[in-house]
Symmetry: C2
Subunit: 346 residues, 2 copies
């Protein structure tokens, strides 16, 4: 096969504050034919996730290197194998690949690549509930929070790709679940579809004091488990309501990712001491050796309809920057995915 | 025996900000003769500890109730049994009692009372290295931080009753130990007597940025374990230097105990996420079932001279408020203890 042309999204410059369309640049690139040990993949679905904002801050030391300005962006994608010189992968196979995304075609060595079954679930689900966000939710709940039946769980960013799975795992484990999200539509979905006990629209509360009052009313016995996606006033309210022996899984702090000046932490960290609370930050990659356990627990819940999910679908690679920016504006319901190409080329 | 008169220190009002001598009031009280199941104790040594400041904030929900303004203050004490109607306690026995302190004589039901051996260690040590502060240090190190040989440990408030034991347990476990304290004399003691690798006088650093630089230089491989006694810029610097998989034992935040306005938390809590850090607040009472394990580990280290300790001794019950206020002004070296009476009445 001759060289393959592909549209690809580059970062033009590192965003200052909230990312804007002008920070991105779509270019055409040309890929060499796959060499020995390489395969050519065609992106079907790509993912945008909040952690990518961290890769746009070259000054911050993190667990993954920052994006380069001289190469296409990358991320999780469900892709079709077009041509393969990698053992175990054949044309027509579908894979999840973490060096994919943000381009129509790319070369992969198959190193962080897993085959997925298109008959088990819609392909895009491998970027959400059956993918990295679902695994993140599962790891935070089962490896960190370890909720017991009858306990109260509070989840911020609850309508998102991670939070929505956290809520439903909490319910499956017999918890009272209090969810926070940023619109009435999200709260309705959480209460009616995801089955949480109370959904709080945080935009109804102007500060941590008001949110604390609402949370305390919804969690009269205190919060045993808090799953943190947001930071800011959510963390402060959770620390006000956390009970003795409480656990906090720190997954994200989307409220502060776009701030250019340091944002002070909550003034009530001292509650961690008096109440004997454990707070644990984590990145899903730490728990990757438990991926089979995750699939074994979540896939049946999904099949039984005990875990529901929503997607915000963006059509076409050109929409990827909008989808990404939407993460920080609360514009997406559930998992944001971009359909880059059809399931099969006709 | 007839009714026993006793001087006792009362709280006149809840302190606003830094406690002052005028917040306390010494009165004479009269104790009834001990009834069935009670004993009369005479205080020999009493303890002042930072946690007591929390009991002077009636508006804050905590693990122990606030002090009442209508009764003597209370705390840990080493006392002599004068008269006993409690099985297992006889006149002349020495005990550690947590409803003691702040008075010359008091009645006890023996419920939180343990006999101590005056031949094993000086009596005051049961308020320090062999008492609640030593147990706190041991619990934070062995039950939360779980340091491995060759790891780096950072300890704030390192010259205090808890911190100094933490440092020496860290050394006994083969760690590189970086200590922070508030004077040259304290740093000298830490380096020369307690054997820490580097002692930082935090007063040499005007903000978290400067302290971070000094800590990073002292901990070139990053901080694996952080024992928190102070809060404020210490926590921020520790979060800047903490390594992947780091652990934080949150024991105290003395820097904020006397603030009347909420003090914002550090702006870099997000580091907990990217670096997979566990932070655990605790109160020693949670680990009381391990008191024998503590004694079995620490008493031999003390006997072998591998744990050294210092005391700031105040003479006379009238000095108790000064000793307490000194905790927050950094005036004490090691454990602050008040000699309320002689070992034996002659």
């Amino acid at each position: 096969m001759s060289a393959q042309k592909s549209k690809a999204v580059f970062l033009k410059n590192y965003p200052k504050g909230m990312p804007e369309a002008g920070d991105f640049d779509t270019r055409e690139i040309e890929l060499a034919a796959p060499g020995e040990g390489e395969m050519l993949l065609r992106t079907v679905w790509m993912s945008v996730d909040p952690y990518m904002r961290g890769r746009m801050r070259p000054e911050v030391k993190s667990y993954i290197p920052p994006f380069s300005l001289d190469a296409p962006l990358e991320g999780g994608a469900v892709s079709e194998v077009v041509e393969s010189n990698v053992a175990g992968f054949a044309p027509g196979d579908y894979v999840v690949d973490f060096s994919g995304g943000w381009k129509e075609y790319y070369l992969s060595k198959g190193e962080r690549t897993q085959k997925v079954d298109p008959n088990l679930a819609p392909l895009s689900a491998y970027l959400g509930v059956l993918g990295m966000p679902g695994m993140t939710a599962w790891a935070g709940v089962t490896q960190i929070l370890k909720p017991k039946e009858g306990e109260t769980m509070f989840v911020s960013g609850a309508a998102g790709a991670v939070g929505s799975v956290v809520c439903q795992l909490g319910k499956a484990k017999g918890c009272r679940v209090i969810a926070s999200a940023g619109s009435k539509a999200k709260c309705d979905w959480l209460e009616k579809e995801a089955g949480v006990d109370v959904a709080l629209n945080y935009k109804d509360y102007k500060d941590a004091r008001e949110l604390t009052k609402a949370l305390a009313a919804a969690a009269p016995k205190g919060v045993d488990c808090y799953f943190e996606n947001v930071g800011g006033m959510h963390l402060e309210a959770a620390l006000n309501c956390i009970g003795f022996g409480g656990r906090i899984a720190l997954c994200g702090m989307i409220a502060v990712y776009n701030e250019q000046e340091p944002v002070p932490g909550p003034p009530n960290l001292v509650n961690l001491i008096g109440r004997g609370v454990m707070a644990r930050g984590f990145i899903v990659s730490e728990f990757m050796d438990k991926a089979m356990e995750f699939a074994a627990e979540v896939a049946p819940l999904l099949a039984q309809g005990k875990i529901k999910f929503q997607e915000s679908v963006y059509d076409g690679l050109d929409k990827a920057p909008d989808a990404f920016i939407g993460l920080f504006k609360g514009e997406n319901m559930g998992k944001a995915v971009i359909r880059v190409g059809p399931d099969r080329l006709s």
